[in-house]
Amino acid sequence: MPSPRYHREIPQRYRLEAAKCKECGRMSFPPRRVCSNCGAREFEMTKLSDHGKILTYTTIRVAPKDFENQVPYNVAIVESENGVRVTTQVVDCKPEDLEIGKRVKFVFRKLYSEGHTGIICYGYKAVLI
């Protein structure tokens, strides 16, 4: 991934920065220019709660090239305590440990690296609590 593209997402990937609609309170992650709930365009910056629960999940056994060395790995849709949903890996556990409804916490981790000389890509992952 070219570095400007990577750099632009750092506030979300490293710090879970989100935008909260000043009109209706809906949180957008990543931030948007137009609220998907009410259409308003005024936001204040906030952060996702780093706690949430699993809404659904899978275990990836056939992976894209950058993730081939990680199989099998778990991916889930997690709802943070302030209602925002994200796709994220769930790590430090076995596939059979996952269940819908289980509580998780976001942690900062390496996601993958781009070959031998490319950048190392970081971001959030979830762990069971």
Binding site: S36, Y57, A63, I77, Q89
Partner: protein, 383 residues
């Protein structure tokens, strides 16, 4: 708006067509459609294709195909909406005739997926690169998460998922253009190589090359051709949140529901009026969710509806008589047009051993990504 008819159709066999190029397969399907319609010219052309740039490094294929079809000079454009590029091309072509701008046009779809490109990467571009794909999710993974949620919420079983593949392979066994016409059993589906739990390789549509084309005409132009006319009764399209995780209900395909509603209203028909449907079974769970959204059964009942044989070739509402994406193959951009080719053959009573009895009204449903876009068309034999 004017009424529009499908007056010709043609497709290549779907599969690993290593001896043919992207342009070869498109022209093959286009000539079959033109010859089937007995037309001597086309006014313009829409070509559905998801990502020829990533699959074979070729863009600008509207002009390329017009040239190789011997029609350079007509307007020709590629249409893209991920896996429903073909269905969306049909919708644009429909409006070009309906608006009165053109009399006879060609709508095609084509994809060349087996020339050596990184297919997983290319297909993943239909999901959110920054917030889904970045985290290692794949398309089978997205549909697997829909399946898990559907099983949890509605009690859908592993066996019911498998029954979709068993049914579609049974139908595809009668389709000479199918990539994988062989029958499969429930046990084979469940015990096949796991791709993303709970989906195995036999819950998943294959990687394919292929092309499909139809000729559309105004009723005026169509009635001069001495052929059975298939009238377009309705067209509907819709979108949903791009990322799967942003949906209020992960088991709901809202774009499918909305596109169907628009098509039903335009056609002035109800789900119970539909005699058969070609739907976007890219994964087994997708067909279960889609038949719910199309109103063939209640929300949450798609699994048991399938298990009871209601969507079988002999059932009350046959779904995917062609074999669907699962058995027929899924050259992504061609799929939406191939669904229409099957529907035309069924309505003409020309579908051979997979012929649906009393096929008078047929529906096609084509979907992009994890359901962020969907397009539905309804067709009837003109008496």
């Amino acid at each position: 708006m004017r009424e529009v008819a499908v007056v010709g159709c043609g497709m290549t066999k779907f599969g690993e067509l290593w001896s043919q190029s992207l342009r070869d397969i498109f022209v093959e399907a286009a000539l079959k459609a033109i010859d089937d319609a007995h037309v001597d010219h086309i006014d313009s052309m829409y070509v559905g294709s998801m990502t020829p740039g990533l699959f074979i490094g070729q863009e600008h294929i509207g002009a390329l195909m017009a040239d190789y079809l011997g029609t350079a000079s007509i307007p020709a454009v590629r249409v893209e909406s991920a896996c429903c590029s073909g269905g969306m091309a049909m919708r644009l072509g429909y409006f070009e005739i309906a608006s009165g701008h053109s009399e006879i046009i060609l709508v095609g779809g084509v994809e060349k997926m087996t020339d050596g490109a990184d297919v997983t990467y290319a297909l993943a571009t239909a999901a959110d690169q920054e917030y889904e794909v970045y985290h290692g999710i794949t398309f089978p993974g997205l549909y697997a998460m829909i399946a898990k949620a559907h099983m949890y919420k509605y009690g859908t079983t592993r066996k019911q998922l498998a029954m979709v593949s068993v049914k579609n392979h049974h139908n595809g066994a009668f389709n000479p253009n199918a990539q994988f016409p062989g029958e499969v059993t429930v046990e084979q589906v469940i015990n096949a190589t796991m791709v993303a739990d709970p989906l195995t390789v036999l819950d998943s549509s294959p990687v394919s090359d292929g092309a499909a084309c139809v000729i559309l005409a105004s009723m005026d132009a169509a009635s001069k051709l001495q052929i059975p006319l298939i009238k377009v009764l309705g067209s509907g399209a819709a979108t949903d949140t791009f990322a799967l995780h942003a949906r209020e209900d992960i088991t709901a395909l809202k774009a499918v529901q909305l596109s169907a509603k628009a098509a039903y209203e335009m056609a002035k028909v109800m789900p119970t009026d539909i005699n058969f449907a070609e739907v976007h079974d890219c994964f087994s769970i997708a067909e279960i969710c889609i038949i719910e959204e199309l109103g063939f059964t209640d929300k949450g009942k798609g699994g048991s509806f399938t298990e009871q044989g209601r969507t079988a070739l002999e059932g009350p509402i046959p779904v995917n008589p062609s074999g669907g994406l699962k058995s027929k193959g899924h050259p992504v951009g061609a799929t939406g047009v191939a669904q229409i080719v099957e529907t035309v053959e069924q309505l003409r009573g020309a579908a051979g051993k997979r012929q649906v009895k009393n096929a008078r009204i047929g529906l096609t449903q084509n979907m992009g990504g994890s359901g962020a876009s969907s397009v539905v068309h309804i067709f009837a034999l003109q008496k």
